[in-house]
């Protein structure tokens, strides 16, 4: 442990106490303000569970029905609350079951600490029962990981884990703790970590870069903002709003940035990317200045890079230096926390309205409305559409719900049509696209924001990947609202097969069980809707319910999500049908 040199602040509780490593872990969690964690017990983590039993009044442990569920629940909790999510598992299969959640949290910059048990130190490397090299396995999908083999290491490493998970660009940290380190006793004292000497989480803003950015902004005729999750993680919502209102610059968002600005704000011009709005995609290739704020130019956002915003100058506000010039060249890079850098930028920006430029977005919106949106949310055909379901949820919840989506067509429709008034309200698996994310993430989201309505929107495919977590909802009577948009297909893959594989529907037709009966098996109030007449009243009933509620909506089987930028195509080649 010599290598880890950390700056520390005076801990409140300096008194040294002799205790086991397992008990120390609990004290570390409490010192970090953790009140809830998600996990699953097993041999190598039993000493910690024994302590959790003793500390039940201070620390709520939720037994998910699968460790993947624990990781996603911790993610949902973190995303909605801005706090660090915590998941725990035993060694071997328990640990490997966390990997999807780690990868998801890594690519979506979610602060999470995962604690895994490990075989006793003496058995390491012996292929002992349930020994797996979780450090090796998790390295590429964690911001940091560490194997504790001595009890004395626990306080320092746990402090470092929580610090790293949330510092700068957040991410998942895994701490693997051998069984002997859980059992052995030592003198416990805890000091929070406030810095690590080899890690500079937030670059200092450079006044010159901010001036250069302001200059480009003030001279641009057709500027456009694309913001991402960095605005939410950096708590820069107010600063962004002030910037767009003063400068009059139309602002679009990536799915990870959704909800940072009110959906109905007149300067909010919608979503970019593969299934984003027509205007912001097309006009990316017509603007003269692209201002990227806390986003990383994912390929689902940019389409073909060679033809992405080539005519425009680019300003990139970014906390992670490695993202600058990674995919798109930045003429001006402004490093730092968006709250700070946008705050410094604001006084240098001239007031403007950009009315003509705005009208371009309005015209494009009208085209999209007539060609796509109208039919999606006010359909005249017989079959129900996913879009009208989302629209009814907006109406019933007054745009106030936290919307948790899984992955597929319903996710894209959910992100396109869900409306938000409050930040941190769109919880989805953006970077990894993890089917099975939504149900457990909704559990975490509900527990992270008990006063808010949480609605999970899930496809019939993804729902069955983590359906076992209904057990948690039932056991704790968590008032999560679950909406399965059932098209009896793996819809998004089927759409690609229709468009690009001559309708060869290989393994995308779903033979589904009776979802209502399954929910009833968990004693969850449930309904199935297949007629338009029943939709509105049932959604109202669902939102009004104080209990968990399951709603299956039978939607059109072969609907497609449009607009669409086909994979590898340019954003200007976006298709409306």
């Amino acid at each position: 442990m010599e290598a880890v040199k950390i700056k520390t602040e005076e801990a409140k509780n300096k008194a040294k106490l002799k205790m086991s490593g397992a008990e120390a872990i609990i004290h570390c969690l409490l010192a970090e303000g953790v009140d809830t964690l998600y996990g699953y017990p097993g041999g190598a983590i039993m000493p910690v569970y024994d302590e959790l039993y003793k500390f039940q009044d201070k620390l709520t442990h939720i037994l998910t029905r699968h460790e993947q569920g624990a990781a996603h629940a911790a993610q949902g909790y973190a995303r909605v609350s801005g706090r660090v999510g915590v998941a725990m598992a035993t060694s071997g299969p328990g640990a490997t079951n966390l990997v999807t959640g780690l990868a998801d949290a890594q690519i979506d910059s979610t602060p999470m600490v995962c604690i895994t048990g490990q075989v006793t130190r003496a058995l390491l490397g012996s292929d002992a029962f349930q020994e797996t090299d979780i450090i090796g396995i998790s390295t590429p999908v964690t911001k940091w990981n560490y194997q504790i083999t001595k009890a004395e290491e626990i306080p320092e490493i746990m402090a470092k884990a929580f610090y790293i998970a949330k510092a700068g660009r957040p991410g998942p940290v895994l701490v693997d703790i051998t069984k002997n380190a859980q059992i052995d006793e030592f003198e416990f004292s805890y000091e929070k970590c406030t810095a690590v000497r080899s890690y500079n989480p937030v670059p200092k803003p450079d006044a010159k870069a901010i001036e250069a950015a302001a200059e480009l902004i003030n001279s641009a005729k057709k500027p456009m903002i694309v913001w991402g999750q960095g605005v939410i993680l950096g708590k820069a919502e107010e600063e962004l709003k002030a910037l767009i209102e003063k400068s009059g610059i139309p602002a679009a968002w990536t799915i990870m940035g959704a909800s940072a600005i009110d959906s109905d704000h007149p300067l909010n011009v919608g979503m970019v990317g593969m299934h984003g709005n027509y205007g912001p995609n097309i006009l990316t290739n017509e603007c003269d200045l692209l201002i990227a704020i806390g986003m990383r130019f994912d390929d689902r956002v940019t389409g073909k890079l060679d033809t992405y915003a080539k005519q425009a100058k680019v300003i990139h506000f970014e906390i992670d230096k490695a993202e600058v010039n990674k995919n798109v060249h930045a003429d001006v890079a402004v490093l730092g926390n968006a709250k700070e850098t946008l705050g410094l930028l604001l006084p240098l920006v001239n007031e403007n309205k950009h009315e003509d430029w705005h009208n371009e977005f309005k015209k494009k919106y009208e085209i999209e409305f007539n060609e796509v949106i109208k039919g999606d949310i006010h359909p005249t055909k017989e079959g129900l559409t996913m879009g009208e379901v989302i629209e009814q949820i907006n109406i019933a919840s007054g745009n106030k719900a936290v919307i948790v989506t899984d992955v597929g067509q319903h996710q894209m429709i959910g992100c396109r049509y869900a409306k938000f008034k409050e930040s941190k309200s769109n919880i989805t698996s953006g970077g990894l696209g993890t089917m099975g994310f939504a149900l457990p993430a909704a559990i975490g989201a509900k527990m992270g924001a008990m006063d808010r309505e949480v609605v999970a929107i899930i496809g019939d495919g993804g729902y069955q990947m983590t359906i076992q977590e209904l057990g948690v909802i039932f056991q704790h009577n968590l008032p999560v609202k679950i909406v399965v948009l059932n098209n009896d297909h793996l819809g998004m893959v089927r759409q690609w097969q229709e468009l690009f594989f001559d309708k060869r529907y290989a393994s995308t037709v779903m033979v589904n069980p009776d979802f209502v009966k399954i929910a009833e098996g968990y004693h969850i109030e449930s309904k199935r809707v297949s007629k338009r007449e029943e939709l509105q009243s049932t959604i109202e009933e669902m939102i009004a319910s104080k209990n968990p509620y399951f709603l299956e909506v039978k939607v059109e089987k072969e609907d497609n999500v449009f607009p669409m930028v086909p994979a590898g195509a340019s954003v200007s080649d976006i298709r409306l049908k």
Binding site: E2, A3, V4, K5, K7, I135, G136, T139, P140, K143, W144, N145, Y146, Q147, I164, A195, V196, R197, S198, Y199, D320, K321, A322, V324, N325, K326
Partner: protein, 177 residues
């Protein structure tokens, strides 16, 4: 930017067991081969230095260095072209002892290549040679006809011509503390 060339990446880091795995994963994920790797202590107490040689484009080396530098235990990472560094590799040649006496030319090869005999035993002797990769390759070709019992070449070690601002960074950290 698109031209492939040799780059030397220098990484200053905390001395942590898992770090090598983390760093090599960054190359693996991008399908970039590590041509040579050397880990040693550095000019700063308690700080390790990785010297990694790759053959790639400037765009990729910059991307990789960015990814390396953001690893928690990495203090700073740099990349340099061959012109910007002083670099060397070392090699050991194990040759049958009788050749030293039977083949007079071998003595000349040792002298002409500025190499030294580091040990002589009854069965074999060992020549050490430091220099650029091509110099070592040349010597290898010269010795090859006589029979080389064993050959090994180290990874590149290098120092940059410009200063690498590490000490300053660390000092700043402690001053702020």
């Amino acid at each position: 930017m698109k031209k492939q060339q040799w780059f030397t990446i220098s990484v200053y880091s905390e001395n942590n067991v898992g770090l090598l795995n983390r760093i090599s994963g960054i190359f693996l994920k991008r399908h970039i081969n590590i041509e040579s790797l050397n880990v040693s202590k550095s000019e700063i107490d308690g700080v390790s230095k990785f010297t990694i040689v790759v053959h790639t484009t400037e765009k990729w080396v910059r991307n990789i260095v960015g990814q390396i530098e953001k690893q928690i235990e990495v203090i700073k990472a740099f990349y340099h072209t061959d012109e910007e560094t002083i670099y060397q590799e070392s090699a050991l040649f194990k040759i049958a002892s009788n050749l030293l006496f039977d083949e007079r030319q071998i003595q000349n090869i040792i002298k002409d290549n500025n190499s030294q005999i580091v040990t002589v035993a009854r069965e074999f002797f060992v020549i050490a040679k430091s220099g650029r990769r091509n110099e070592i390759d040349d010597m290898y070709e010269q010795l090859k006809p006589y029979g080389i019992m064993q050959f090994v070449r180290s990874g590149r070690i290098s120092v940059s011509k410009d200063i690498m601002q590490i000490t300053g960074l660390l000092k700043e950290f402690y001053e702020e503390a």
